[in-house]
């Protein structure tokens, strides 16, 4: 789950030039994967090889006892090449974020665009999009039910989340659906 500290770290990382070396932990925040997932991606037999890294000297070099560093430019290039377009993966991420009815009460970070509309969950934004939107759009924290009462930029996305919300919390979901049905009929 995305943490405020991670978002702040992402903002700081966004301001750094591409040739600044990053630690494995910083790279993991930047890529929004766990540190152990990134460690696995460095194995020679990794099913999903990760970004180019440097270990003790020249870029791309390796040495088992040397400190691993990543360069921001390499991380960005890897993200662009491996941009997640798999909707099943996105659905899984949403499912993990809102696994139980109690999770629906936790505030999550949502984008609010310049028109004042909700433009999706920050967690679902690729890092490339994150940097494009940062500074233009606001990040606001809402429980999902409260976010769904707002005006959304994309009604399809709002309904996708309403479906998820209603599947986890049928009473509140039914009330919310009824409210939105009334708004549409007005």
């Amino acid at each position: 789950m995305v943490k405020i500290a991670d978002l702040e770290a992402l903002e700081l990382l966004a301001r750094l030039p591409d040739d600044v070396p990053l630690t494995v932990s910083e790279a993991a925040i930047f890529l929004r994967v766990s540190k152990s997932a990134l460690d696995k991606m460095r194995r020679p037999d990794a099913a999903n090889p990760g970004p180019v890294y440097s270990q003790g000297g020249a870029k791309g070099s390796s040495g088992s006892n040397q400190k691993v560093v990543y360069f921001k430019g390499d991380l960005k290039a890897w993200l662009v090449a491996n941009r997640c377009s798999d909707t099943l993966e996105a659905a899984k991420r949403r499912g993990q974020l809102f696994a139980t009815a109690a999770d629906l009460l936790d505030p999550e970070a949502f984008w609010r665009n310049t028109a004042g509309e909700i433009a999706g969950l920050v967690e679902e934004t690729s890092v490339v999009q994150f940097f494009e939107q940062l500074g233009q759009w606001e990040i606001e924290w809402f429980a999902l039910g409260d976010a769904l009462k707002e005006q959304w930029a994309d009604q399809g996305e709002q309904m996708r989340y309403l479906w998820l919300f209603s599947s986890k919390s049928p009473e509140s979901g039914s009330l919310l659906t009824e409210q939105l049905m009334r708004q549409v009929n007005q």
């Binding site: 659905a91 399809g156 996305e157 709002q158 309904m159 996708r160 309403l162 479906w163 599947s167 049928p170």
Partner: protein, 119 residues
């Protein structure tokens, strides 16, 4: 001794009328076509507006969405046909289900009116 919780049909119907999405939290053996129709009013509203890459079945226990459609349409074949294309044009699926329900309703009514059948 504790008696197992077994709400009556009227209680279940009242529950689904109050919270239509609650049908998916009821055991499937409580479901009826009538309950599915009650829930459909809200389900169709959301389904008609989701993007084409949306997969409704991912949000429920395995098989529950398919069973809901089957019960709603009262036909496994129609439910499978409606649910099979991918990506799915959800407004069209909703519209096809609505048409099917309307034609089924009309045919049920004509069967209940003997004077029509002899005309």
């Amino acid at each position: 001794m504790n008696t197992p919780f077994a709400p009556s049909r009227d209680e279940i119907r009242a529950r689904v009328e109050a919270a239509p999405w609650g049908i998916f939290h009821l055991p499937v053996d409580c479901w009826t076509n009538e309950l599915a129709l009650v829930a459909w009013r809200q389900v169709r509203f959301v389904l008609a507006r989701v993007p084409s890459d949306f997969s409704p079945e991912l949000y429920f226990e395995t098989g529950k969405w398919e069973q809901f459609l089957e019960l709603l349409c009262e036909s496994a074949i129609i439910a499978t046909l409606l649910n099979s294309s991918n990506p799915r044009n959800w407004p069209s699926v909703v519209s096809a289900i609505d048409d099917h329900l309307a034609s089924k309703d009309a045919s049920d009514k004509s069967e209940q009116l003997p004077y029509f059948s002899v005309l």
